[in-house]
Amino acid sequence: MTTIAFPTPIGRSHAAARTNRDPALVRWLLIALALVFLIGFLFLPLAVIFTQALSKGWAAYAAALTEPNAISAMRLTVLAAAVAVPLNLVFGIAAAWVIAKFEFPGKSLLITLIDLPFSVSPVVSGLIYVLLFGLQGWLGPWLHEHDIRLIFAVPGIVLATIFVTFPFVARELIPLMQAQGKEEEEAAIVLGASGWQTFWRVTLPNVKWGLLYGVILCNARAMGEFGAVSVVSGHIRGMTNTVPLHVEILYNEYNSTAAFAVASVLTLLALVTLAAKSILEWRIKLQTEKRP
């Protein structure tokens, strides 16, 4: 084994060597074709959001964002994410710990079940809670008697948000922690560390970028979810409208400028998410590739 004095640069350094393999004409044709596709499906949709949002000037833009219904929608969206993300974070850590560090029967089934919410249509994700807690649902009558309202109310929105963002943290952490094995944790225990000390001082620092990555993706989806939340919300303005639902209402009322203004906030959030994601992917690559 040779001494690695400094971290080796990560990247596709060898890709440059391949660059000139295809004739220039083929190369530029393929790049042009791909870019035309991406312009039509990515760049123009992105650009139109901001041009439409500002089509009536900054004053109208600011007005659309500071209007009371918009503010209350933002508040609800932040609330839903503030509940869903920490819960799914704790779940993700627990699930990744038990799956990566222990052997038990049914493990691969458990991994599949954790991914389940990703394969369920957003509309169905909302519907299952309506069927459980709605007035026609299994627990609806009981809840009604006790005057507890979950569906067409804030708790339903939070529940639907938890469901659709359920796997995000877990699916980032599970492969990462599996790849890292359990030798470091065993070493910590042999050295006298308690379970908590091992977790906080050894496990967590080793997965912190992956964890953050999962949290950021989880948060983006929590704040942007539309279908599932739409089904359970009841669309009560100023009460049970999240930001994406507010966009829908404005758009359907032909108030397109305001719709795009509010949408632009969500778009900025998406762009920040992508930037953070790119940086984190690079850090995670460093963390998993450099095994001591």
Binding site: L33, L113, V120, S121, P122, V123, V124, Y251
Partner: protein, 273 residues
């Protein structure tokens, strides 16, 4: 619970919490849905899921999802190819933006696509004189489903292409194969499992998609009404039984796709190993 002895603590508590949380949030609500549909009886269930309007929505949903996934298989491979193999200005930015459909809320994507593909929009403008309407037709649905499925093929093919040993290509070339033979006989077979996995992921996502579609679809029954929208419509008409039956039919399809995708991913990994 069977468990190998381990000095690491927390097995029971983390497994207990994982199973409880999974059951409360996912398993119990999903099973409740299946139970609810059972109250319809088989005949009632069958009548709902095979009604003409429902069948039309299946045809549209699966047809558009299949078309979108196919477009993505082709262009996703192309995008992955130029990102891995070529250098060009703005490559890093393009690479990062490929994930936009994952990060952008579907409702925002929906209104943006509806705007540029309408007959007065930036792109729709060029098609209107040809008599082609995109927004508010089934074509618009294909556009939306292509958008939301875009990252899947790119992101499954990209790592395989990066790991691809260029020695194989050089070997093929040294044996006298020309560029297109090398691509068809050496590169494409290696990438195939990844392309199929990406295709299946894009298709699965497209089948259930709702937010980005409803703004651009037109939502005319029998013509441009997708199945998830039909579920919402039934719900709004307080037809819970009907909505449940449709939801169950979609869940069955989703689970089938999930199994297929798991199989494909295993195949991809075997090929990479």
């Amino acid at each position: 619970m069977l468990k190998r002895h381990s000095v690491l603590p927390g097995f029971s508590i983390t497994l207990g919490f994982t199973l409880t949380y999974l059951s409360l949030i996912v398993l119990i609500p999903l099973s409740a849905t299946f139970l609810k549909s059972a109250t319809l009886g088989w005949d009632g269930f069958w009548a709902v899921v095979t009604a003409p309007r429902v069948l039309a929505s299946y045809k549209l949903t699966f047809g558009a999802a299949l078309t979108g996934a196919t477009i993505n298989a082709v262009f996703g491979l192309l995008v992955a190819w130029i990102l891995v193999r070529y250098d060009f200005f703005g490559k890093k930015l393009v690479d990062a933006l490929v994930d936009l459909p994952f990060a952008l809320p579907t409702a925002v994507a929906g209104i943006a696509l509806a705007t540029i593909y309408s007959s007065k929009g930036w792109i729709g403008l060029f098609f209107a004189p040809l008599g082609i309407k995109i927004a508010h037709t089934p074509l618009g649905i294909v556009v939306a489903l292509t958008f939301i499925g875009l990252p899947f093929v790119v992101r499954t093919v990209q790592p395989v292409l990066e790991a691809f040993d260029t020695e194989l290509e050089e070997a093929a070339a040294s044996l006298g194969a020309n560029r297109s033979q090398t691509f068809r006989k050496v590169i494409l077979p290696t990438l195939l499992p990844a392309i199929l996995t990406g295709f299946a992921l894009a298709f699965a996502r497209a089948v259930g998609e709702y937010g980005s579609v409803i703004f651009i679809a037109g939502n005319i029954p029998m013509v441009s009404e997708i199945t998830p929208l039909l579920i919402v419509t039934k719900l709004e008409q307080y037809d819970y039984a009907g909505a449940t039956a449709l939801a169950v039919s979609m869940l069955v399809v989703s689970f089938g796709l999930l199994l297929a995708i798991n199989g494909l991913q295993r195949w991809t990994e075997m090929r990479r190993a």
